[in-house]
């Protein structure tokens, strides 16, 4: 897992390669926003055992029908 967030230029390039979306002023601004959020997340510690599980609920048949 990366220790730091990706740089905006890396993000833009990945988008162009994967999705073929154009690199322009809008995508550049979006990449900068994303980079800030990624950096914030990368700077916070998670223990390996901290997985995805949210407090769960079960599903069976409708409560109404």
């Amino acid at each position: 897992m990366p220790e730091k967030g990706l740089l905006p230029a890396q993000i833009e390039e990945a988008m162009r390669l994967i999705y073929g979306l154009p690199v322009d002023a809008r995508s550049r601004a979006a990449a900068e926003e994303v980079a800030k959020d990624l950096e914030r997340l990368s700077g916070a510690e998670l223990r390996p055992e901290e997985g995805l599980a949210m407090p769960r609920h079960r599903r069976t048949e409708s409560a109404h029908e």
Binding site: M1, P2, G5, L6, I11, E12, A14, M15, I18, Y19, L21, R26, S27, A29, A30, A31, E33, V34, K36, D37, L38, R40, L41, S42, A44, L46, E50, G51, L52, A53, M54, P55, H57, R58, R59, T60, E61, S62, A63, H64, E65
Partner: protein, 452 residues
């Protein structure tokens, strides 16, 4: 009260059952209110005049009987209603009419509710401003994304409406428009037939003028359904009966946001917390057990990645037809690596566990519903007040825990403020009971706006 449009949902239903009101008279009165105000407020995408009157006539003839017989409701325009448009605020869906009801709308109809029409949503339930004005001051925003539902309820065009929340889209507009906004636990209400913004963050909710009405609507839309993968099989209580007004035992007042809030909002929150204490509630002061800014970044990453996935095909075909903010949301979602999306989901699970730990010690959490007053109408979304406001609502969207906002007076300029209560997972009965007690004992009640 001679004008039926002033009735709350529960009052109107009671009058119909007692033979003191007909559904037709109620609907006609509301349509008159719509005719008088809609040009200024612009809360509706479609008003189903003929359909509503026909449904009311069938109710009056005794053809449909249910817990909501004769109750007029509005439905946010990302929620499918058979035969009515579902444009989701986008030109890409102009004139689209679904052939089936969403589960929530279908359940309302089956219980005898009358769907008055579709209410305005911001485009794809993201923050790009729509045409709706705030009924308390037409130069102000009603908030979003459930803009039309909140505005229509606030000025008496309809007694209650469905909305949805991914970040703060029920609590925000309800607060800005001075009505009750209620977001149940994630998994309490099926989402099938609802245009998604973020699969794991979306919730359906209710906007109304009382917590009793929120309980009544929840009782009819909650519960698992075989055609839906989102709702839990937890039993559906008789919410109106189980949420009779009850003083809460212990409340944790989250003061962390007050330093970022408008001074009038902060003062109101402090004053009302003191009144709760004087009324015998054990109010402790504390804060959320995590970094607001980390929560916000986590929320944005999840929401953007999921929005990009949901919109992928449509966005790649016609990006120019997206409004600026949703365009940026989807575009940035494409840029989020899977490992970071998963990291965000792991943080969300941690934050949810930490909130649940707080709620083992306290029955309810209390905080301002919005940190600011409504911004000017049409203001570009984003900016500091908008971000701070999201912090007030995202904890509950993020964790899936239920929350409710109640009106808590108005500021010097006459604009509404709200206080938010958050409760335990699937603890809606206790949350609503406390909200009803606060309405009765502390006067946290909605008023009807009369747009000038």
């Amino acid at each position: 009260m001679n004008e039926p449009w002033r009735l709350t949902l529960s009052e109107g239903i009671r009058r119909i059952r007692e033979g003191r009101l007909t559904a037709s008279a109620w609907v006609q009165s509301l349509l008159g209110r719509v005719d008088a105000l809609e040009e200024r407020v612009r809360a509706w995408v479609q008003v189903d005049r003929e359909g509503a009157l026909a449904a009311a006539a069938r109710i009056d003839q005794g053809e449909i009987r249910g817990g909501l017989s004769g109750a007029p409701v509005g439905i946010k325009d990302i929620i499918d209603v058979k035969g009515l448009v579902r444009e989701a605020g986008s030109p890409l869906f102009k004139g689209y009419v679904p052939e089936e009801d969403s589960i929530a709308a279908g359940r309302l109809r089956a219980a005898g509710a009358i769907i008055l029409g579709k209410t305005v949503t911001t485009q794809f339930a993201n923050p790009d401003p729509g045409p709706t004005r705030n009924p308390w001051n037409l130069s102000r925003s009603p908030g979003g994304s459930s803009s039309g539902s909140a505005a229509a309820v606030a000025c008496g065009m309809v007694p209650a409406a469905l909305g949805s929340q991914t970040g703060g889209s029920v609590i925000g507009p309800a607060t800005f428009c001075g009505v009750v906004g209620f977001k149940p636990t994630r998994g309490r209400v099926p989402l099938a037939g609802v245009f998604s913004l973020s699969w794991t963050l979306d919730h359906l909710g209710v906007l109304s003028r009382t917590a009793e009405d929120a309980a009544l609507l929840l009782a009819h839309i909650a519960g698992a359904h075989p055609a839906d993968d989102t709702a839990a099989d937890a039993p559906v209580p008789d919410y109106p009966a189980e949420s009779l007004p009850r003083r809460p035992g212990s409340v944790l007042f989250l003061k962390g946001l007050l330093s970022r809030a408008h001074p009038e909002v902060a003062d109101a929150a402090l004053r009302e917390a003191a009144r709760l204490r004087e009324a015998g509630v054990a109010v402790e002061e504390g804060d959320l057990p995590f970094d607001f800014d980390l929560m916000h970044a986590t929320h944005r990453i999840i929401m953007r990645a999921e929005a990009a996935s949901y919109h992928e095909a449509l966005f790649r075909a016609c990006p120019e037809d997206y409004a600026p903010t949703i365009r940026q949301t989807v575009l940035s979602g494409f840029m989020i690596p899977a490992v970071h999306y998963l990291r965000a989901l792991r943080f969300r699970a941690r934050l949810a566990r930490e909130l649940e730990t707080l709620l083992r010690r306290h029955e309810l959490l209390l905080l301002p519903s919005m940190a600011s007053f409504p911004p000017p109408w049409g203001a570009a979304p984003g900016g500091k007040p908008s971000q701070v406001n999201r912090l007030a609502t995202e904890a509950f969207s993020h964790s899936g825990l239920p929350c409710i906002t109640l009106p808590a007076g108005r500021g010097k300029e006459g604009l509404p403020m709200g206080l938010q209560l958050g409760g335990r997972r699937f603890g809606e009965s206790d949350l609503l009971a406390a909200a009803r007690w606060c309405e009765e004992e502390l006067g946290w009640r909605s008023e009807i706006a009369n747009p000038a």
